[in-house]
Amino acid sequence: MESPAVEISDLVKRYGRTTAIDGLTLGAARGAVTAILGPNGAGKTSTIEICEGFRKADGGTVRVLGLDPSRPELRARVGVMPQAGGVPPAARCGEWLRLMSRFHAHPLDPAALLERLGLSEHARTPYRRMSGGQQQRVSLAASVIGRPELVFLDEPTAGLDPQARHACWELVGDLRAAGVSVVLTTHHMDEAEKLSDRVVIIDRGRVVADGTPASLTGAERQLRFRARPGLALDELLTALPSGSAAKESPSGHYIIEGQVVPELLATVTTWCAAEGVTADDLSIERRTLEDVFLELTGRELR
């Protein structure tokens, strides 16, 4: 049987006295997009860098395409996009991609890749003169140029404008369609929800949730609206069927949870009318991944 793209069990990584990864276990299937989510310092980059062979684990086992990450034959089979840097500041981006392509047996055409990522005009621009978003795209291009089986993308859309972000998403979608396994880290919940087959949320070096975006957000729906902050929800609660919950989070954003049936909607709108409130953006939807994320990892700043 073909081994999974990535298989991590009981991974431990320490930096001095800090334990960055504390018994982390996760797997990424072949041909799927797996997103690793987590607050800053959760251990995302450390995990990815151990998979890429850049760092050594202090405990546990890691297998990439069934092999130890230090195996040299993986270098040709795995594409890597680091979180930042990795390109000489004076190198022209077209030259850099051509150089990267020469390391591989059946590379993509660098010019076609530049065009695809909207960088054709900048082929002769030195890396240091490019905007942050353009630099990110050069890095992304370099990660796929060797036609790898698996790519690791560490925050691929950080600092990208909306157009570039969509171009990146599209490329990830095409990679998946072509049968490439993708493991990416991100802070953007919408990105994880849209792109990935599987989401792994990690916090303090451990997995706190793992599943498809739909299974994590659950089947339960909720009613949301915006209105002026500080409405008296107690009154509403008495009117709602038992088992319902209502909260204001964050300020001015109201969420009603419970059996979302027509009566619930009627009760809420009647109450709003009585309060003299117009509910903006009234909608019935599932919990978002962001709700799940904040529930699991807390709201405090790290």
Binding site: G53, F54, R77, P88, E95, L99, M100, L108, G146, R147
Partner: protein, 255 residues
């Protein structure tokens, strides 16, 4: 929009293609870098012309250009193999380039091979230019060109080891400052344009053990005096090369 065939087709290119591609990139980066060119070409040419034309130092009899040229050839090797390579590699480490290259099929051995080839290619260019300038100034070399080439290669190994030792252990800024400082000190005390005899007798023997003095002294004895391969100089250079390359390979940090 162009369609790209992203279907996996992984595979490393043949080692020779990877190494040549990386060598080309390294040479281009060196020749495009203004500060690097100042150090590797402009300063050696100016020293060669200046010290050959004007009676700035007492070279004890013989022709000034015959004395200065071997020193400037040694300086050219030091500027590329040591100063240039140390600074470039130090910043590649700092910008994560070495780490990124480590994630490609190009092995570390391949990368080191490419760096060495690039250094040798740039040196060949420097030496060609300096020889032409020296010949125009009336340089009349004697001795075996093979002995001179061997000394230049040993010097390259010793200076590369020293440069990589700094680049792989110090911060990039410290390497930048340190490599320039060492360049200046060795330029002054290594017999490049001033003969070692200008120094007091108490320090002269110690100065003779510097890699730059071994290289300038060795090249002078071959090219100016027509002597055979100078074993003393060869020994000093081999010892420096073994020591610095050995230490560098143990201590080099790739990120």
């Amino acid at each position: 929009m162009t369609t790209l065939d992203l279907t996996p087709a992984p595979g490393a290119a043949p080692l020779s293609r990877m190494v040549l591609a990386q060598t080309g990139a390294e040479i281009r980066a060196t020749l495009r870098n203004g500060e690097q060119l100042l150090l590797t070409l402009i300063i050696p040419v100016l020293l060669l012309v200046g010290f050959s034309a004007a009676p700035l130092v007492n070279v004890g009899g013989g022709s000034r250009v015959d004395f200065v040229t071997p020193g400037v050839l040694a300086l050219a090797v030091m500027s590329t193999a040591f100063t240039g390579q140390a600074i470039a590699t130090g910043f590649e480490r700092r910008y994560g380039v070495l780490k990124r290259l480590g994630a490609t099929p190009l092995s570390r051995t391949g990368l080191m091979l490419a760096k060495t080839l690039a250094v040798v290619a740039v040196e060949a260019l420097q030496i060609a230019i300096l020889c032409v300038v020296a010949l125009v100034l009336g340089w009349s070399p004697t001795g075996s060109p093979f002995a001179a080439a061997l000394l230049l290669l040993l010097g390259t190994a010793a200076f590369s080891g020293l440069g990589l030792l700094m680049a792989g252990t110090l911060r990039a800024e410290a390497t930048l400052a340190g490599a320039n400082l060492v360049y200046l000190v060795l330029l002054g005390c290594g017999g490049v344009v001033f003969p070692l005899s200008v120094f007091p007798d108490s320090v002269e023997p110690a100065l003779r053990l510097l890699p730059i003095s071994a290289l300038t002294g060795g090249l002078r004895s071959v090219l100016t005096s027509g002597a055979g391969l100078p074993l003393g100089a060869v020994l000093v250079l081999v010892a420096w090369a073994a020591l610095t390359l050995g230490l560098a390979s143990r201590t080099f940090r790739w990120e």
